[in-house]
Symmetry: C2
DNA sequence: CCTACAATTCAATAATCATTGAAATGAGGA
DNA sequence: TCCTCATTTCAATGATTATTGAATTGTAGG
């Protein structure tokens, strides 16, 4: 992944509505959700959600597909993985065992994000 | 992690200089780097790097410590983990086995970010 | 104590971005 | 074909955010 695209992705995730959309779709999984359902779920106007969906698509965080009259969006898990990998690339100068323990809990799942004592 | 802080973190990472600083410090590991060395490494003015360092510190992405006359910054690996965990929380409605394969390569390390066929 | 240096603060400017409502597109069903 | 509905586009406005250079703080070493 190039730096430029990573910045676009982080910028996309830095906005309230867009972050909620991505998390909604991450939790929805591969089935995804229609644009209208997303708009209702995050409580913004159709016009505005369309604006943000395009931004997220351009950032490689979500992917659209047509289904009947609706357009279904789902999280782009490959894009998400690439973004995280870019951020963490060559961590600890190629000795990930140094920071791996601190990152172990970052794997996705229902309850991996536990509260813990911060260093 | 709260949504608000996650947004602050993503916004911090969305800026060219700040993203470079974080990746620099991720690769530098726990030893970290002095503010001046960071400024030189990313080629911006001391004033400007100070501005961005404060922003990254406030976002929980880096942590400072004093050492003689210098201030040494290092990546906050706990903060990075929390951010990733927040983004991926409850992925696939609590069935991470669906998306885990797509995210497996996101672990930090020297060469985990391989090129692969995107779905 | 006083000088030098590393880092930060400050005010002003320029640039980018989110939001709104109305109008337009385009795919399906009757 | 015609009509309906889901989504998108557009232009205008208001609100953040990055950058710059000068001035300031605070820490040490002589």
């Amino acid at each position: 992944m190039e730096e430029r695209q990573a910045r676009t992705a982080f910028a996309a995730l830095s906005q309230e509505t867009r972050l909620r959309i991505v998390r909604l779709l991450v939790q929805a999984g591969p089935d995804g959700m229609a644009a209208g359902a997303i708009a209702e779920s995050v409580a913004v106007s159709p016009s505005n959600v369309s604006f943000h969906l395009k931004d997220l698509e351009h950032a490689g965080m979500i992917v659209p597909r047509r289904e009947a009259r609706s357009i279904i969006y789902s999280a782009d898990f490959n894009g998400l993985r690439d973004l995280i990998a870019f951020l963490m690339k060559d961590c600890c100068a190629g000795h990930p065992e140094i920071c791996a323990p601190a990152l172990a809990a970052a794997q996705c799942g229902p309850s991996t994000a536990k509260k813990k004592a911060r260093a």
